[in-house]
């Protein structure tokens, strides 16, 4: 299997997984965004909601990194700029969810 096919498959699998996770997240977020401090902390870091939130951000950043790299492919002509943009994109897709998960699990 060539790398472009693998990339397409990863994009489709993560996209399909993201649909129910997005529905779950937005329904809960609308319900809790103006609640108190402890409700928000409980949602992001405790129990099943904390676990699903962690899965959600990992898949969301993975999916976004692949799909935004497609946008770079379509709009950036310069190979060097495209490479730097892709590296920064993949780095942020690892670092942001990782830091968030470490912080929310250390409370």
């Amino acid at each position: 299997m060539i790398s472009a096919t693998k990339k397409w498959l990863f994009l489709k699998i993560s996209g399909a997984l993201l649909v129910p996770l997005m529905i779950w997240f937005i329904l809960n977020f609308v319900a809790i965004y103006n609640q108190g401090y402890f409700e928000l902390v409980n949602f992001f870091s405790k129990g099943i909601s904390g676990f699903i939130f962690s899965i959600f951000i990992v898949i969301a950043f993975f999916f976004s990194a692949i799909s935004i790299s497609e946008v770079f492919e379509d709009y950036i002509g310069d190979e060097q700029i495209k490479n730097v943009a892709n590296k920064l994109l993949y780095l942020s897709a690892v670092v942001i969810p990782l830091i968030t998960i470490i912080l929310i699990n250390n409370i």
Partner: protein, 127 residues
């Protein structure tokens, strides 16, 4: 090194169709969503710093602008959900006829507004 191949999708050249509108909106909402998720991650991290840091977040979410942002994120998520389902169905080989693409495109656009209202009402326990 400059790549000489043409860049797509030539949005300034072709006449706009519902499919092109849904396609470009799918990309724009995808970028909006990842910015929103990044900010939500930041919010989660700020919350972990303690109750004092929550005051600013509370003021923001209770303001008109904050509520507008929440509604905007809800619409952007709704659009992405419906558009992603449309893409997945098309990947299975269905819905390529011109008439069907127009109908499903309209379903995504109109449906995203309806879904936003539904998400908001369900989230706020109106049902």
């Amino acid at each position: 090194m400059e790549n000489k191949r043409p860049l797509s999708p030539h949005i300034q050249i072709y006449r706009w169709h519902i499919s092109s509108l849904v396609s470009i909106s799918h990309r724009i909402t995808g970028i909006i969503n990842i910015i929103a998720i990044t900010l939500i991650c930041f919010l989660a991290c700020v919350l972990m710093l303690g109750e004092e840091s929550f005051k600013i977040i509370e003021i923001f979410f209770n303001s008109v602008f904050g509520k507008f942002i929440i509604l905007g994120i809800t619409w952007s998520f709704s659009f992405q959900i419906l558009s992603e389902i449309r893409h997945l169905v098309m990947d299975l080989g269905y819905g390529f006829e011109l008439k069907t693409t127009k109908i499903t495109g309209l379903v995504v656009i109109v449906g995203s507004v309806i879904l936003t209202i539904l998400f908001y009402l369900i989230g706020k326990n109106f049902f």
